[in-house]
Every structure is written in structure tokens, then in C-alpha cells.
């Protein structure tokens, strides 16, 4: 197996330039939020105490960032060494995804200067789901940076730190698999507590399981999505063979999810509501149609080995999974008595800015640190690959 290498090359690219512009917007609105308070930037209110920063940046963003989780699970726990080249890019994306989710939480909590209390043992409330999520995500951010730290070790030749890392890396990986399993399901538990405020299409005691499953297949889909993009943009060679194997796993997980989802809706007698033509019913259908499109594409072996179909399926799954999480956290949530919420311009700019930071930092990191395993050019590789495909 070829070793991961920094890509090198030009740092300032048009992509990075656009990202920097959006980062500028982000900084402008973040400063405004910290100086003038959360109400000056957001449309949050007493009915919707959290909005797009939590629903997208934390809930959807952390599912997008589950690539590191599922790849670590595959390679280190299920011992599928063949996927090893995908681990580090996935970890990098996860690291940024989670770190920025943490930043987003910090922006979202009203009295951010009290945030340190989370880490004071005598302040901890072990009966709180929110505490579980906060603690898990807070810890997982550090774990991800440590999991990725071999790249720093290689870059700066930190041999001492490297040998120390080698000794503890098994614990990091164990934590890296345990923590997302805990908090991704807890993200579902959190909205379970919303009770009747959440539409019955999404409010079910299976929410924790549904959230865990969406995290898993969205993580895999993200690996395919992001891998396809980077392999084309950075000319890394064709990784379709690896992706199609992952796609096969996704089709099983997604299929399992769809069965549970519809059985759950049917069992609770809400299928009529889903097909009633109401706005929420349609949102439910849209969410599941997107997932179904992904499932149908990935279910066919021929389609699985076509990079275009793979990419379309990955996008459909990511959109469907995100819509499920958006529906649960904002769209299907009605606090009653006429509360309304739509993210303000400033609020959206912060979210776009965070995405831009993630993309920009990713493009810089892959050039500085050993993230990608470059393959030999596609053509000379093809003979070797055809039997697998």
C-alpha cells in the first residue's frame, strides 16, 4: 500500500479565495453576535430557542462528519484494512466538521462565558441528555484531533510524540468509535423529549436508533461524496472500486433504516398523515424519496461501480438524511401558539462561513499534511482493478 503524502502545489486557489470571503462574513457576524448578543444576529425566539446553527452545524454537520467514525469502525474494529487509504481524509473532514460544530454551539449558547462549567465535575448533571451530547461532542473533538495527529507527527518529525501516540492510539480509536455511537443516538433522544411539539411523523421512541443509523449511512455517503470530489479535483486516481464496496454496505444499512422507518410510521398509524398532502407529510415523503433514490441506485451492483451513479446516490442520501434531521429539529417542530422561525441573513452567513472554513481548511491541510494516498494514474491501474469491479 502506498503511503500517504502531502499533495503540495499551489495554496491560493479560487476555491480558497471564495472560502476566505465567506470566512470574512462569518467573522463579521460572529463578532456582532458576541458583542451585541444573540438576538442582534439571529431570528431565534422563545419558541425556537435553537435554529440553523444547531440543526445544520451540529445535528446535520456532525452526521456529515461521521465519515471518520464509520471508517474507523470499518478499518480498526471490523479489520477491513483495504479501506485504510480512506481513513485519513475522512478523519480530516470529521475533525473540521466536529470542531466547527463545537464553535457553532459556542455561538449558539446565550451566555457563552459560562461554557467552561460543562467541564467542571461538580456542575455535571448526569440525568441530562443535553449534557451527554455536549460532553460527548466536546470530548470527541479532542479525540479527533488526536486521531489525526499522526499527520502532524509525520510532518514535523515528532518522533517522541509519535511513539507516545502509538501507545495510546488504541484507546483513541476505541473512544472515537464509542463517543459518536453515544451522542449520535442522543441527538435523537433530545428531540424525543420535545413530546407533542414534534410532529408524529418524526416523534417516535425509535428516534435514537434512527439518528444512529442516519449517522452511519450519512457518514459512508460523505466518504463517497468527498472521496469522489477530491479524487477528481486532486487527480488522485480512481477509487471507485473502494467506493462501490462501501456503497454495498450503505445499501444494507439504508435498507434496514427504511424498513424501520416505514414500519414505525405504519405501526403508529401515521401513514395516512404522511400521504395526506400536508406540508409536513410532503416533507416526510421528500426526505424518504431522496433516501429511496440512493437506495435504488446503490442496490444495483452495476450502478454501484459507476462513479456518476455513486456520486448521485451519495448526494441523494446526504440530502435525504439531512432533511430527516432538519425535519426533526426545525421543520417538524412546532412549539405552538404561532411561533415562527426562519434563519436571518446573519445566521445563515455564519453557517455558510463555517462550511467555507471547513472546505478552505481542508484544501490547505491536504497540501501540507499527509492525508491522501496518491494512486498511480488510472490507466495503468485498470488492469489490476477490473477483476474487483
Amino acid at each position: 500500500m502506498s503511503k500517504a503524502k502531502p499533495l503540495g502545489g499551489r495554496i491560493i486557489t479560487p476555491t480558497l479565495f471564495i472560502c476566505v470571503i465567506f470566512t470574512g462574513f462569518f467573522l463579521y457576524f460572529a463578532v456582532q453576535r458576541f458583542v451585541f448578543g444573540i438576538g442582534s444576529v439571529t431570528n431565534l425566539n422563545d419558541g425556537f430557542p435553537w435554529g440553523i446553527w444547531i440543526a445544520y452545524d451540529v445535528v446535520v454537520g456532525s452526521a456529515f462528519a461521521c465519515g471518520g467514525y464509520v471508517m474507523a469502525l470499518m478499518v480498526y474494529v471490523l479489520n477491513k484494512g483495504e479501506f485504510h487509504p480512506l481513513v485519513r481524509p475522512a478523519l480530516l473532514a470529521s475533525m473540521f466538521g466536529y470542531t466547527l460544530a463545537g464553535v457553532s454551539v459556542f455561538l449558539d449558547i446565550g451566555r457563552y462565558w459560562n461554557a467552561y462549567n460543562l467541564y467542571l465535575p461538580w456542575q455535571m448533571n448526569f440525568h441530562s441528555v443535553m449534557f451527554e451530547v455536549a460532553m460527548c461532542i466536546g470530548t470527541y473533538i479532542f479525540v479527533l484531533w488526536l486521531e489525526f495527529s499522526p499527520a502532524f507527527v509525520e510532518k514535523w518529525h515528532l518522533t517522541k510524540a509519535g511513539s507516545f501516540l502509538n501507545r495510546i492510539v488504541f484507546a483513541l480509536i476505541a473512544l472515537g468509535v464509542l463517543l459518536p455511537t453515544m451522542h449520535q443516538s442522543s441527538l435523537g433522544t433530545m428531540m424525543l423529549m420535545a413530546g407533542f411539539k414534534l410532529d408524529p411523523l418524526w416523534h417516535t421512541s425509535s428516534l435514537p436508533l434512527l439518528f444512529l443509523l442516519t449517522a452511519i449511512f450519512m457518514g459512508f455517503a460523505m466518504v463517497i461524496f468527498e472521496g469522489t470530489l477530491s479524487s477528481r479535483i486532486y487527480d488522485l486516481g480512481d477509487e471507485t472500486a473502494m467506493f462501490s464496496k462501501i456503497a454495498r454496505i450503505v445499501s444494507w444499512v439504508l435498507g434496514f433504516y427504511m424498513v424501520i422507518r416505514f414500519q414505525n410510521i405504519f405501526m403508529r398509524g401515521e401513514l395516512g398523515h404522511a400521504f395526506s398532502g400536508s406540508f409536513l407529510g410532503n416533507m416526510f415523503l421528500l426526505e424518504n424519496v431522496l433516501l429511496l433514490v440512493g437506495l435504488v441506485i446503490l442496490g444495483a451492483e452495476k450502478k454501484r461501480s459507476n462513479p456518476q451513479a455513486l456520486f448521485v446516490a451519495a448526494v441523494a442520501i446526504l440530502l435525504g438524511g439531512s432533511l430527516f434531521r432538519f425535519n426533526t429539529y426545525i421543520i417538524g417542530f412546532d412549539p405552538g401558539t404561532g411561533w415562527k422561525y426562519f434563519p436571518s441573513v446573519g445566521e445563515q452567513m455564519i453557517t455558510y462561513g463555517l462550511i467555507a472554513i471547513e472546505i478552505g481548511a481542508y484544501t490547505v491541510f491536504v497540501k501540507f499534511f499527509s492525508v491522501f494516498t496518491t494512486h498511480t494514474p488510472v490507466k495503468s491501474n485498470q488492469k489490476e482493478r477490473i477483476p474487483h469491479v
Binding site: N45, N306, P307, Q308, K340, Y341, F342, V345, Q348
Partner: protein
């Protein structure tokens, strides 16, 4: 408490029904903020065949604390002292007099040596060896020292017994002090107030009977369940304070409207007691001083009651942010504005477009591959 248990103690409960009795136990548990699960324990402790002996002594005081206890009705005092606890000696309620009463006291003390609950009401004069309060030919201070030594638990009821109260008011000619000062080597539970809420005493005694230990005490040995919070914190007139609506003199418009009495010298902001949450005794709701329009004078707080003049305003110990005025019409959030909707649509469109272009390019390459393979 099961029906059978109830029947065995029926004679002692008199006209109190099992239901009323359990309600009393629940109310006591609630006063101390204990969980409902201890209610049966309380019932058991109160109905056990050996009634806990209580000896009640009076010093330099007005018997107001006993009077307030007489007003408690859940159950009535006589049920409590004759049937639930064993009030073996109480000077005011005693039927006997003179030598007969004294003999009863000493017999009660000797019979229950080390077990009885000693309740002391009233301050203890120390000046001139304490000659200012003599009972049965003995200085009260000597009686307290003698009997206090033999008691299982000691409760000082009322402000006088707690720190001297009205009897120790400046210039304190008789040198009155509280019980703790005389029995400095013993733990004395203080239940200050002039008079204190009788349920604070009942709850303390019943806690001791149920759990065989005293409830949690603060630094001045007051039960935390009753004296843990400032009156001001839970005062029914607190919203007026937070919004700056004050009565400025008795009978003015603000006073008539029930505004905050802070500027009339209310000592609620410096007095730790549960008057604002438990009201007063069985007098009914709305019958504690602040509710009837009289500022609190801090009777339960050493150094405030009988010490700071009635109309002197007190410092506010814990300044908390005002609740602000609740708006009449509530803004219920904004929907999509043209700007925010356009931004979201634009970004989503751009992302979709980029995705479509990329997908198309992917397709192109793939066709190439397939062509080549073919």
C-alpha cells in the same frame, strides 16, 4: 400506614381520621421538602407506642411561641402533645401547679434521661447570676444547665431562646442570652421568629423522630429547610420590587395597590425565613405580615429584629437581575424575509448547480472509461 396500623392507634388519634392524619404527615414532609416516600415513615414514627418525651421550659419570654403552637390545627395541638408526642412537662399547659408541677418535671427528666427533647422558649438572663428569672426558687440559667445536660436533643424556639430576642434588646439590662450561649457544649437547634411558624418546630421534631437525627442546619443552627432562603427571594410582592413599584408611606396609592414595602422598612431582603412560602401557621393564606401590608421587621434574624429600627431600609443582599416587564403582545418570531429567503435559495441553487456540473463531468469521464474498456 395500613388500615390495621391505623386501628391500633385509633384511640390516640381521637377524632382525627386516618386520612387527615396522613395528610398531616404529607404536609410535614412537604414543609421539609422531603420525598413522598417518607410519609409512611413519618406516620410510623408518630404512632409508635413509645411516644417521644418532650419537656418544655419557659424563660424570659411572652409565651407567644406556645400561643402560636396552640393555633396549629393539623392536627390540633392537644392531639399532637397528648397523643403523638408525649409532652411530659409544659409550664403553661400544665394542670398542676407549685410543688406538684416541679415534681412532675423532675420525674419526667429522670424517667427519660438522655432521651427527651428539651424545648426552651425564652431568653436566659445572666446578669447578677441570672436572678432576673427565677422559677421554683432556682435561677433559670441553672435549671437550663442542669436539664440541658440530660436532654437527647435541645430546641430553642423563638427569637428569645435563639439569641435573646426582644428580651436582649439594647441596653439589655438583665443580660439575656440565647440557649446556645448557655449550653455551649451542646448542639442547640434554633427556630427563631417572633413567634416562629409552629410548623417549623413540628417539622424539626418529626424529622428527629423519623430519622433519629436533626435536619440539616445552617451556621446559626437553624434548620435549612425553613431558614435557607431570604424572605425577599420568594416574596409574593417581589415582582413589584423588580419593577420599581413601591409603597412610599402607609395608606398611599402604592400601599393600597399592594406594591413592595421595601421603602417602608421591610426587612425581607435581609431575613432568612420561609414566611413568604409557608405563610403563617394556620392563620390562612394572605395572613403573614407582608401580605396584610406591613413590612417585615426581621424578627427571625439576629441583628435585624429588635435591633434595626422599623422604618430603616435594609441592604439588598443578593441583587438578582430584574425579571423585566412581561410584554403584553409577544413577538413570536420572524418568518422568512425576502433577503434571508433569497440568500438561502441562492446558496442552495449554487450548490445544486455546482453539483450538477460536477456530476455531468463525472459522467463524461466514465463514458470515456467505458469506451476505452469496450
Amino acid at each position: 400506614m395500613s388500615k390495621e396500623d391505623s386501628n391500633t392507634v385509633k384511640s390516640r388519634l381521637g377524632n382525627v381520621s386516618r386520612r387527615d392524619f396522613m395528610k398531616f404527615c404529607s404536609a410535614v414532609a412537604a414543609t421539609m421538602a422531603l420525598p413522598g416516600t417518607v410519609v409512611p415513615d413519618i406516620a410510623h414514627a408518630l404512632t409508635s407506642p413509645t411516644r417521644p418525651p418532650v419537656i418544655w421550659l419557659h424563660g424570659a419570654e411572652c409565651t407567644g411561641c406556645s400561643m402560636s403552637l396552640l393555633r396549629s390545627e393539623h392536627p390540633t395541638l392537644e392531639k399532637l402533645i397528648f397523643d403523638l408526642i408525649s409532652l411530659d412537662f409544659h409550664e403553661t399547659l400544665s394542670a398542676g401547679a407549685g410543688h406538684q408541677a416541679e415534681e412532675a418535671l423532675h420525674r419526667a427528666v429522670e424517667d427519660n434521661y438522655g432521651k427527651f427533647i428539651l424545648v426552651i422558649e425564652g431568653a436566659i438572663p445572666l446578669k447578677n447570676s441570672g436572678v432576673f428569672c427565677r422559677i421554683a426558687g432556682k435561677n433559670f440559667v441553672d435549671t437550663v444547665k442542669d436539664i440541658g445536660r440530660k436532654a437527647g436533643a435541645i430546641i430553642a424556639i423563638g427569637s428569645c431562646a435563639s439569641w435573646g430576642g426582644v428580651a436582649a434588646m439594647e441596653p439589655n439590662p438583665t443580660g439575656c442570652v440565647g440557649v446556645q450561649e448557655v449550653l455551649s457544649d451542646k448542639q442547640v437547634v434554633s427556630i427563631p421568629g417572633c413567634p416562629p411558624n409552629p410548623y417549623n418546630l413540628l417539622s424539626t421534631i418529626i424529622h428527629y423522630l423519623t430519622f433519629k437525627k436533626l435536619p440539616g442546619l445552617d451556621q446559626q443552627n437553624r434548620p435549612k429547610f425553613a431558614y435557607g432562603r431570604l424572605i425577599h427571594e420568594h416574596c409574593e410582592r417581589r415582582p413589584h420590587f423588580d419593577n420599581g413599584r413601591f409603597a412610599r408611606s402607609f395608606g398611599d396609592e402604592g400601599h393600597a395597590k399592594g406594591y413592595c414595602l421595601y421603602y417602608l422598612g421591610c426587612k425581607g431582603p435581609v431575613t432568612y425565613a420561609n414566611c413568604s412560602t409557608n405563610q403563617f401557621g394556620d392563620a390562612g393564606s394572605g395572613c403573614w405580615p407582608v401580605a396584610i401590608g406591613h413590612p417585615c421587621f426581621g424578627c427571625a434574624e439576629k441583628g435585624v429584629g429588635f435591633n434595626v429600627p422599623q422604618f430603616t431600609t435594609s441592604p439588598v443582599l443578593h441583587t438578582t437581575p430584574g425579571a423585566g416587564s412581561a410584554p403584553i403582545t409577544l413577538e413570536r418570531g420572524e418568518g422568512a424575509s425576502p433577503g434571508s429567503a433569497a440568500l438561502m435559495a441562492g446558496v442552495a441553487g449554487a450548490a445544486l448547480g455546482a453539483g450538477a456540473v460536477f456530476t455531468a463531468k463525472l459522467g463524461g469521464k466514465e463514458v470515456d472509461h467505458e469506451d476505452k474498456k469496450a
